[in-house]
Point group: C2
Chain length 352, copies 2
DNA sequence: GCGTGTTACTAACACGCGTTACTAAAACTC
DNA sequence: GAGTTTTAGTAACGCGTGTTAGTAACACGC
């Protein structure tokens, strides 16, 4: 580095005041009367020297890092597969930057290595934590909660009493399946987005059951399959359903990515969608509209999810009282051709 | 927080030594002989108290943060659209964690606001910087280079002499287009992934031209269109090409996402792929294999890209000499049905 | 017994900031 | 004009580390 580090001492010297005054002026400390003249002198000097307070020194003195971490508590597969996650991250960043916070990214794959993100807390590297895809077998999380460390979940964990932001997965699935019921289907299959250990996956499964129940349809285990985030799993699951002696006439697939694989299997067998098999997906990934046929699906407020999570976390950090411990965001059923009774492609407004 | 912060002072007291000794032992300082007995006493005490050195204090003393930042120098659209980016990030995280570094995420949309990431440097929040999608009109980057601040580009910037890791976009595009030539096409269109201001986009465009030249085919501006990362732009571009009196018989589309939009336009007009129009994409997004028809495309070593970038950056930070200022990683042409002469879908091995 | 190393540690300072307690000067009160 | 309050600013400490300079204690050679 050619340029030496500029310290508040340099600013003080240039402005002809003490270092204390510099700090008071630059931090806008209330209940401190300082002449407009010296105030300006300090500001000018700071600007001229391009002074920026050293982050480490400031953290050490204030006990605040102005940094939050996003912990991705999930497998590598999921990180790749989830296009939706990038939108969430965008939302997080937006809020974080706006409120003057940094965002640290900490994915980890090994479930046993939850120690890893704890070190962020123990070393005082962060002020708060957002945990995406929490597992119920994580023992560190409740401890953090006890210690009063600010944590917000993206997703839910039953009974832990930790703040969270989530989507109403069950309600969304309910709506998707009900749509198929309305269209006259009586035998509706299910391919989940992931194993049921993932709470979101279980919730969508529950919504599927509830919709069947409300319609007076039986829950039939034989037309239920379990995906694992990836298209490949949808391809295989659909092949299995098609091999049944009595395949469903419609399938709710709780992930667009997985649904894409299923569509490929259907095309291969020459089965038309929606006539031979109606499909409703989940997530509304950007490509959903451009698949063949365009996919009816549930649109998630991914960006808002990130926005609210970051907002809530920073509120907690700054000691503001939070009204509700959790927030459930609404979803939207986007109707396209894959379930029948669609609107033509051209009409849909482009936005995301 | 229920638990009070544990400091090295506490450890020293419990072990019955001075704070200095604690520091020497825990940091494994060489040329310092310390009795095995006291060494163990210190280690035990540290473990028993769950001592972790405070990150801020350590940074202040050592002038090192053990943190690197990923700056995403690109529009919001791109962040959403680029599934490929999540793989890169995975690679980055992998290396960073392994070598004991943190990863800070800093996307920004406004090109004018390059000041934003500079503050990370001025505040000494990071030891190094990875810049994805650099723009030639960024004036801050050369300054950093002059100051000797560690920077690695994901992508290239001509003449700046900054370390970089990239893919050989031109060569990849060349290979893709040559394939179409081999298949007998004489009129091959181009839809770019993005405007030509993006260096990667320009390189792919150049590869397209070179392949035509080598084949003795003319470059015809009228069958070239410019995408903008999104599927929508591909949809529209393909519509325009199809409206020509003499449309191409094949099109190289420099982004799978954009290609997906183009495929939708083709389906709508009932044009079969590859018979009515052959398509080669770029990126090999996870869904490429499951589109209709499965997409012939260029596979990028996204994960490796992130891996190498992080590795190179940390090498630089730690003062190791770097042999080459830049690394170009190889790509792979993945042949599927969308260009003709495919292998059947089932055979392809699943991996990513 | 005196100088010279060597061993095994420690006292004290620096890093750059925020902040509390204090002061000298000016302004008011009566 | 002596006492009291207000104003405008500063000296000095603490945050928790890493690190340099230094020091007792002891062994050794002659």
């Amino acid at each position: 580095m050619a340029r030496k580090k500029v310290t508040s001492h340099d600013v003080a010297k240039l402005a002809g005041v003490s270092r204390t005054t510099v700090s008071l002026v630059l931090n806008d400390v209330p209940h401190t009367r300082i002449t407009e003249g010296t105030r300006q002198r300090v500001l000018d000097a700071a600007k001229r020297l391009r002074y920026r307070p050293d982050a480490a020194a400031r953290s050490l003195a204030t006990k605040q890092t102005r940094t939050i971490a996003l912990v991705l508590y999930q497998s590598a597969d999921r990180i790749v597969g989830d296009a939706f996650l990038t939108s969430v991250v965008r939302g997080l960043c937006e809020v974080a930057q706006q409120r003057g916070f940094r965002l640290l990214l900490h994915p980890f794959e090994d479930v046993g290595k939850s120690e890893a993100y704890i070190s962020l807390v123990l070393e005082n590297s962060i002020d708060g934590l957002i945990v995406s895809g929490p597992r119920s077998d994580d023992e560190q999380l409740p401890k953090l909660r006890e210690d009063g460390f600010p944590v917000v979940l993206l997703g839910q964990l039953n009974g832990a009493g930790i703040h969270f932001v989530d989507v109403d997965n069950a309600a969304a699935a309910f709506r998707a399946v009900s749509r198929l019921v309305q269209l006259g289907h009586r035998r509706i299959g299910l391919i989940t987005n992931a194993p049921l250990e993932y709470t979101a996956s279980a919730a969508r499964w529950r919504g599927y059951q509830e919709a069947l129940e409300e319609a007076g349809l039986p829950y039939d285990e034989s037309i239920v399959r379990y995906g694992n985030f990836r298209a490949q799993s949808g391809y295989q699951a659909m092949e299995e359903l098609l091999a049944l002696t009595e395949p469903p006439t419609a399938t709710f697939i709780a992930s667009d990515e997985v649904a894409t694989g299923a569509l490929a299997a259907l095309h291969e067998r020459g089965i038309s969608v929606p006539d031979g098999m109606a499909i409703v997906g989940f997530d509304d990934i950007p490509l959903a509209r451009y698949l063949t046929p365009p996919l009816t699906t549930i649109r998630l407020p991914a960006y808002d999810l990130g926005l609210q999570a970051a907002d809530m976390l920073i509120d907690i950090i700054q000691g503001e009282e939070i009204a509700e411990t959790g927030v459930l965001l609404d979803t939207e059923l986007i109707i396209r051709e894959s379930c029948g009774e669609c609107e033509p492609l051209g009409k849909e407004v482009e936005n995301h």
